[in-house]
Every structure is written in structure tokens, then in C-alpha cells.
């Protein structure tokens, strides 16, 4: 029988190469998948990994997808480093989109150009508010944050459905479940003319730097990680476990909410029932693939965005089903978790 045996000293080098190995396994797996579907693997992989990047429009679309993935994963990395298992970035993103959309709908054509900042702020606060429900229940009743945050994601999705089908439905929208389109002043300015890419990518990169400093250099970030790594040491040092819960969830909620706002007030310009195509969940993979490190999250968000765009392209160009994106994402996470297991354990025959 085979069994797993703990390695005495897990290799640091392997820890950082594991994401690359996982990516390679995913590519190999993709090759077989394309073969099984009767497509040329070369053409398939090209559509996934090359085509999106061979023109400016494609690059801008990848960058656009990176915005929510990067923002959500940065927040999740902070949570996971604090041992807070926030699975609900999706819900925080959706509610951030809702509050941002609500404020955007209040704009009039003659509001100031800076009005979009208000929209972003609303998104941040919305995400924080949604995350604070999880924080409160965990803090006050020791409720499991995995379940609470996950369930709240569905509640957030249903809230959005209610709004776009009910009070916020565009009266001139032929009964489609969409809100009115936002006024131009409520929208995030474009970064590149002729593309859909907004200043959101710059905001996301600034957030990356801020999170990097917070995690690596700030005392508050240090306290958070001690409460996560070694709760007894945190108690010994006098760092509050409650602070760990609240700060990590609020930061994570804020970043996810900001991501939601940048999405609705960016490429979409209105609230739609499925404005988030699971960015909050995909960001969990991004955070792990990025080794919970802000720099790693940037790399991982890029890969994940590529898979999103590649998945869309393979639908139109190769006639593959939409599920292909999910299959690739899942394969990537599964390979990574497997690789991680073998960093800490080795197989032994017994």
C-alpha cells in the first residue's frame, strides 16, 4: 500500500516552483483534453495562451480581467495569512458592485467629473459592510467564516437579482433585467483609447503595492500574521485575535468591493444579473497560485485572466463549451494542491 510520509524539511525552492509545475501539468492536461474533443492541441493551446496576447485589444482585455482577480486575491491573501478562511470575496464583490451601482444611478449629467470616485468609495464601503457580517458572526458567536462568507455570496447574488429585476430595472429596457446605463461622470475613465481598459488597472497595481507594504513591513500586518500563524504567540505578545478577524476581513471586503465597483462602473456601465463571472471564487485560486504573496498574485492573476479570455476565444473560434474556462481553472488548482502536497509529503510503500 502507498502512504504519504511527512518530509523532514520542505524545500523552499519547490514551494515557489510549484505554481509553474502546476501550470505545466495544466498545459499537458489541456493537450489531452483538446485531443479528446477532437481539436488540434496546438491550435487549442495557442487560442488559450498566445492569441489573447498577440494584439493590443487582447492584451487590454486580459489586463481588464486582471483587475477584479488581482484586487480580490490581494485581500484573500491577507485573510489566509491571518488564518481567516474568507471564501466570500464573490459576495463582497457583488455587494460592492451593487452599492457602487446604486450611487452611480444617482448621478446626473451635470455632476462633477470626480463623481466616479464617490462610486468607487461606495463600492469599497459595500464590500466592507458585507464582509463585516462574517467578521461579526465569527467574532461574536465563533461562527465558521468559511460557511458564513460562502453563504453570504449567494445571498449577495440574490440581492442583485432582486434589484435588477425589481426596483432598479431600466423602465426603457424592454423588460431585460438590467439597470439604466450610468452617466459618463459615474464611470471610471478609460486608460487606453480604443479599448475597454480603464484606470482600474492602475488602481489595482497601487493596491498591490499598498498590500505588499502592509504584509511585509507594517506592524499591523505583522500582528495579523502572528495571530494567524501562532495564536498562542499572539496571545503571549498581547496581539488581539479579534483585531485579526476584523482587520483582515475588512481589508478583504474593501478590495473585493472596489473590484465590484470597477467592474460595473468600468467595462459594463450598468448593473447586470451576472456582472461577476465568479471573479471572487477564481481569486481564491489566484491567491494560492500566488503563494499568498502580492507579487505572486500579480503573476497568478495574469495566468487566470489569460484562461478567462482563452476560454471565451475557444468558444468562438473552436466551438468549445463555456465550461472549458472552469475546467482549466479547476485543473490548475488541483495540480497546485497536488504539487503542494508533495512538497510536504513523499510517497512511501508500506
Amino acid at each position: 500500500m502507498l502512504r504519504l510520509e511527512a518530509r523532514p524539511a520542505p524545500s523552499t525552492l519547490m514551494r515557489y516552483t510549484a505554481p509553474l509545475i502546476a501550470l505545466a501539468i495544466t498545459v499537458v492536461f489541456g493537450t489531452f483534453l483538446f485531443l479528446a474533443l477532437g481539436k488540434s492541441p496546438l491550435a487549442g493551446l495557442k487560442v488559450f495562451f498566445i492569441t489573447p496576447l498577440d494584439n493590443l485589444r487582447g492584451v487590454s482585455e486580459v489586463a481588464l480581467k486582471m483587475i477584479p482577480l488581482l484586487l480580490c486575491s490581494l485581500g484573500l491573501a491577507i485573510c489566509y495569512r491571518s488564518n481567516i478562511w474568507n471564501i466570500g470575496a464573490e459576495g463582497q464583490l457583488v455587494v460592492g458592485g451593487i452599492t457602487a451601482g446604486g450611487v452611480a444611478l444617482l448621478a446626473s449629467p451635470d455632476s462633477a467629473r470626480a463623481y466616479f470616485l464617490l462610486v468607487l468609495l461606495a463600492g469599497i464601503l459595500g464590500g466592507m459592510a458585507w464582509a463585516s457580517i462574517t467578521a461579526f458572526l465569527r467574532d461574536r458567536f465563533n461562527a465558521n467564516e468559511i460557511l458564513v462568507s460562502l453563504m453570504l455570496s449567494y445571498v449577495g447574488g440574490l440581492l442583485l437579482l432582486y434589484l435588477v429585476n425589481g426596483p432598479w430595472k431600466d423602465p426603457k429596457g424592454f423588460n431585460f433585467p438590467y439597470s439604466k446605463t450610468f452617466e459618463a461622470v459615474a464611470m471610471v475613465p478609460k486608460l487606453l483609447p480604443g479599448t475597454r481598459l480603464t484606470w482600474g488597472i492602475v488602481i489595482a497595481l497601487l493596491a498591490l503595492i499598498a498590500v505588499w507594504i502592509f504584509v511585509a513591513r507594517s506592524k499591523a500586518g505583522f500582528r495579523l500574521q502572528v495571530t494567524g500563524h501562532a495564536p498562542l504567540a499572539a496571545r503571549f505578545a498581547g496581539f488581539s485575535a479579534r483585531e485579526g478577524i476584523w482587520v483582515s476581513l475588512l481589508i478583504s471586503g474593501a478590495l473585493a468591493g472596489l473590484a465590484g465597483a470597477l467592474e460595473v462602473a468600468g467595462p459594463l456601465g450598468q448593473l447586470t444579473p451576472q456582472f461577476s463571472t465568479g471573479y471572487g471564487f477564481a481569486a481564491i485560486i489566484v491567491a494560492w497560485l500566488g503563494r499568498l504573496h502580492p507579487g505572486g498574485c500579480l503573476f497568478a492573476a495574469f495566468i487566470m485572466a489569460l484562461i478567462y479570455i482563452g476560454g471565451e476565444l475557444s468558444q468562438s473560434r473552436l466551438g468549445l463549451p463555456a465550461a472549458i474556462t472552469g475546467v482549466f481553472q479547476g485543473m490548475l488548482l488541483l495540480s497546485l494542491l497536488t504539487a503542494d502536497t508533495f512538497i510536504h509529503y513523499r510517497l512511501r510503500r508500506s
Binding site: 506592524k219 500563524h229 504567540a233 496571545r235 498581547g238
Partner: protein, 508 residues
Amino acid sequence: MTDIVPRLDLKGISKRYPGVLANDNVSLSVAPGEIHGLIGENGAGKSTLMKIVYGAARADSGEMRWNGERVQVASPAQARKLGIGMVFQNFSLFDTLTVVENVALALPGSTPRAQLAQDIEAMGRRYGLPVDPGQHVYSLSVGERQRVEIIRCLLQQPSLLIMDEPTSVLTPQAVEKLFVTLHQLSAEGVAILYISHKLEEVRSICSRATVLRGGKVTGVCDPRAETIASLSRLMIGAEPPRATGEARTAGDPLLVIDRLSMPPLERTGKTLHSISLSVCKGEVVGIAGVSGNGQNELLALISGEDARAPAASIRIVPTDIGALPVVARRALGLAFVPEERLGRGAVPLMGLDLNTLLTHDKGLTRHGLISRDAITRLAHRIIDEFEVKAAGTAAPAKSLSGGNLQKFIVGRELVKNPQVLVVSQPTWGVDVGAASQIRQAIVALRDAGSAVLVVSEELEELFEICDALYVIANGRLSARIATRDATVAQIGELMGGSGMPEAEHAAA
């Protein structure tokens, strides 16, 4: 005894672990129907010996005879097949399953549940161990859980029953009931090996006892014919050397605890009963006692990790600190070295430099940002001054040996020149060189005028560095004893829980 074939006969058992000889040529024999005590301090080698008997560890040399025949026990399953049953100190029951389900899991073969439930009840009636087979384990008291463990063992009809510190979690009433059961088993011919460090208990129930100290047998005796004092001398050793102290004059009391009573935070903890102590400037005061008698609960209340105490019950004169958080107590000059180094005293995966931030703040951060230079310098200074062997200031705490990490953690507190230092098990598991270095540092801090409180299981250490001693047993603290007037017998008796006037009331 010689005409009876012993049920279990161990001869010349030795077992070496890296760096320590856990069992050194140990021999022991138990006759059928005998209740045999195995006594010794923590770390004396009792657990290792029992693991060998139960097949959970293999001896390096020596032989084991079972009913006169030489056997090699390779696994606990084989031990059970021979007829050896063991009741562990930490229960191995699944909380979410019922009693009968737990028992079924441990038994070989498959007995129908209803039949098994009847067996459990019958066994319970026979030995005075009533349990409801259908009840979930999480709803049982500690005493009831132990009954389940014992019944589970008895259902396999053992002819040798090993009880590992069975009374450490029981109330005095439950202890009495347990003893009745054990006597009944012994009358039926079951041999019982009773592991304990509670000498009173061993004297009241065992007809013979083997004493271990430092892995060696230091005596085999009839405990009923011994006194607590003579037993503790076997267990602890000769009178240790005293600190050559001319009577030094200590200053005013600095750390004062006044009639502190407190129920434990965790269900398995000890309740503290009216604890009073004082530590003066320029003196080292020790608290002796077997661990698990309330030391951890008391230390957490002093350090502030548990801040439930009434404000005035703990003071760093003149401030009431009982209800202050950890950081505020530290600001008043209190430093604490906990017993657990990895995970409490230090974050295992973080570097020594970052680990300084656990108890230092001043000068290490600016505008909320950590100054890399400052923490590196501080870590460097601790490493230099206390001769810590580490791969550098960024070496993870986990990579250091126990002794070196302890030097670092003690050093981290001492470089602050704390007014009050509280240390738990300062040299536990530390090699001889590092241990004497740590003791010297503690004494130097005292000579500089600080108040030091040391909690330790090692009497020799306490006798060496302390000016005065207290003994903690079962959540109660003895009166203060000047070290130069103390004897090992006296301390040992107090450690066993006798001689504390209040304690006897509670047991009655």
C-alpha cells in the same frame, strides 16, 4: 513472590532516544493480582517503559517475559492479544460517537451493537462503572469518559491492566470509586501496573512499587511501609546543593498576589484557590510542583494572557494589574518567558529578527512600519550577549535547537532589564551548558535588583537559584519557605498534596 511466575517480567530494558537514555537497564516484575506502582517525576522514563510493554516502542536491549515466556511485542494489537490493556492519560475516544460505537471501534471482530450494549452495562454493574451505552461521549464528564476507557479495556479480558496517571483528571470522589474497581480487579487475579507521581495514592493502593529516576530504577519497595519523605527521596534524589547564600537582604515586595481564586478557562484546567505570594526586589522566588497542578493557569493570570483576575488581586507595586492587558503589563516592566517556546514564546516560521517584535516595540517601528535595521540590530545583540547559536538574525525560530531558542527567548526579555521577570520551566529540555548560562543570567538580573519568579518542576534547579520557595499542588499554594530551611522531603510532601491545610478540607 519467588514461587509465583510473574505475569510480566522485564529484565535489563534500555531505550535510547537521540540525546537521552530514556530507560537504562530497567527491570520490573508484576505478579498476578498485584497492584504495582510505577513512580517517578515527569521525564523519569515511565512513559517510555510502558510504550515498550504495550508495543508502541521497541527496546534497544533487554527482555520481556509474559507468564514466564519470552515475548517480543511488536504492536499494541499484539499486546492486546496477549492480554495487556492500557488506559491512557489522554483519553482516546471520539466525542461525536456514542459509548457503544466507541467500544465497537476498539474491539476485534464485530459484535452486534445490542449485544455489546448489554455487555457494557453488565461490565459496568460488575465493577461499579455505570455508563449509558447510548450516550454520546461529548456529553460525558471526565470521570465517565475514563469509565468508558476502562470498560473498553476490560471487555477484552486483560490479565494486565496499565493505568497511566489515572487520577490526574478525577475528582476525589471519582478516585475513591476507581480504587474500589481496581481492588476488585486485583482480587480476580488481574495484574495492575499503576503509573503515578502522586505518592499518597501509590501508598494507599499499591502493594509494591518501582521507582524510576533519570531512566534508572532507584528502588523497589512496599510503599505502605515507606513514608512520603522516603519515597520522594527515591524519586527526586539526594538533597541538592544549596545556593551558597549568606542571608541577602531583599528589598520591598514588588510582585504581589493576594488571595487569587479563579476557575480555569478550559474545562480540563485547574481551579486556583486563594493564591497569595510576594516577590521582593532583588530576590528569586520559586514555585515547585508537578506540572498540571495550576502552574499554567496562574502564569497566564500573571502575564495577562488571561486577564480575568480582579484588578487588585495581582499587583506590581503600586499598580493593580490583575485586569490589565498583556501590553500594559509589559509597559510596567513585567517580562514573561512561557514554558512552550515554539508557537508561544516564538513564532516558529518567522525569523529571530521578527520574533523580537513579539515583546519589543520601542524604537523598532516608525509610523507603523517595521524598521528592518532596528530589529536586525536587536536580534544581533541578543544572539551575541546570550551566545545563541543560529544561522543568522533571519533564521526561523523553528531552526534553532531547544536550548538555543530558549537562550534567545530569555535573552529577548533580559535585554529589557525588566523590573519583574516571570519564567516558566527555564531549562526544561535544555542542555547542561545552556541551562547553567540561563540560571546565571537569572541570578544576575536578581543581583541588579529585579524581582524574579521561577516556576519549575526541577527541584534541584529551584534549590540552586531561589531565595524562597512555594509549592503548588492541586491549585493551592503553600506558605513561603526560605530555601535554606527547606528539605527535599518537606517539598516532596507538599508536592504530593499533603501538608497543605486547606487542601485536606477540600479532599474530605
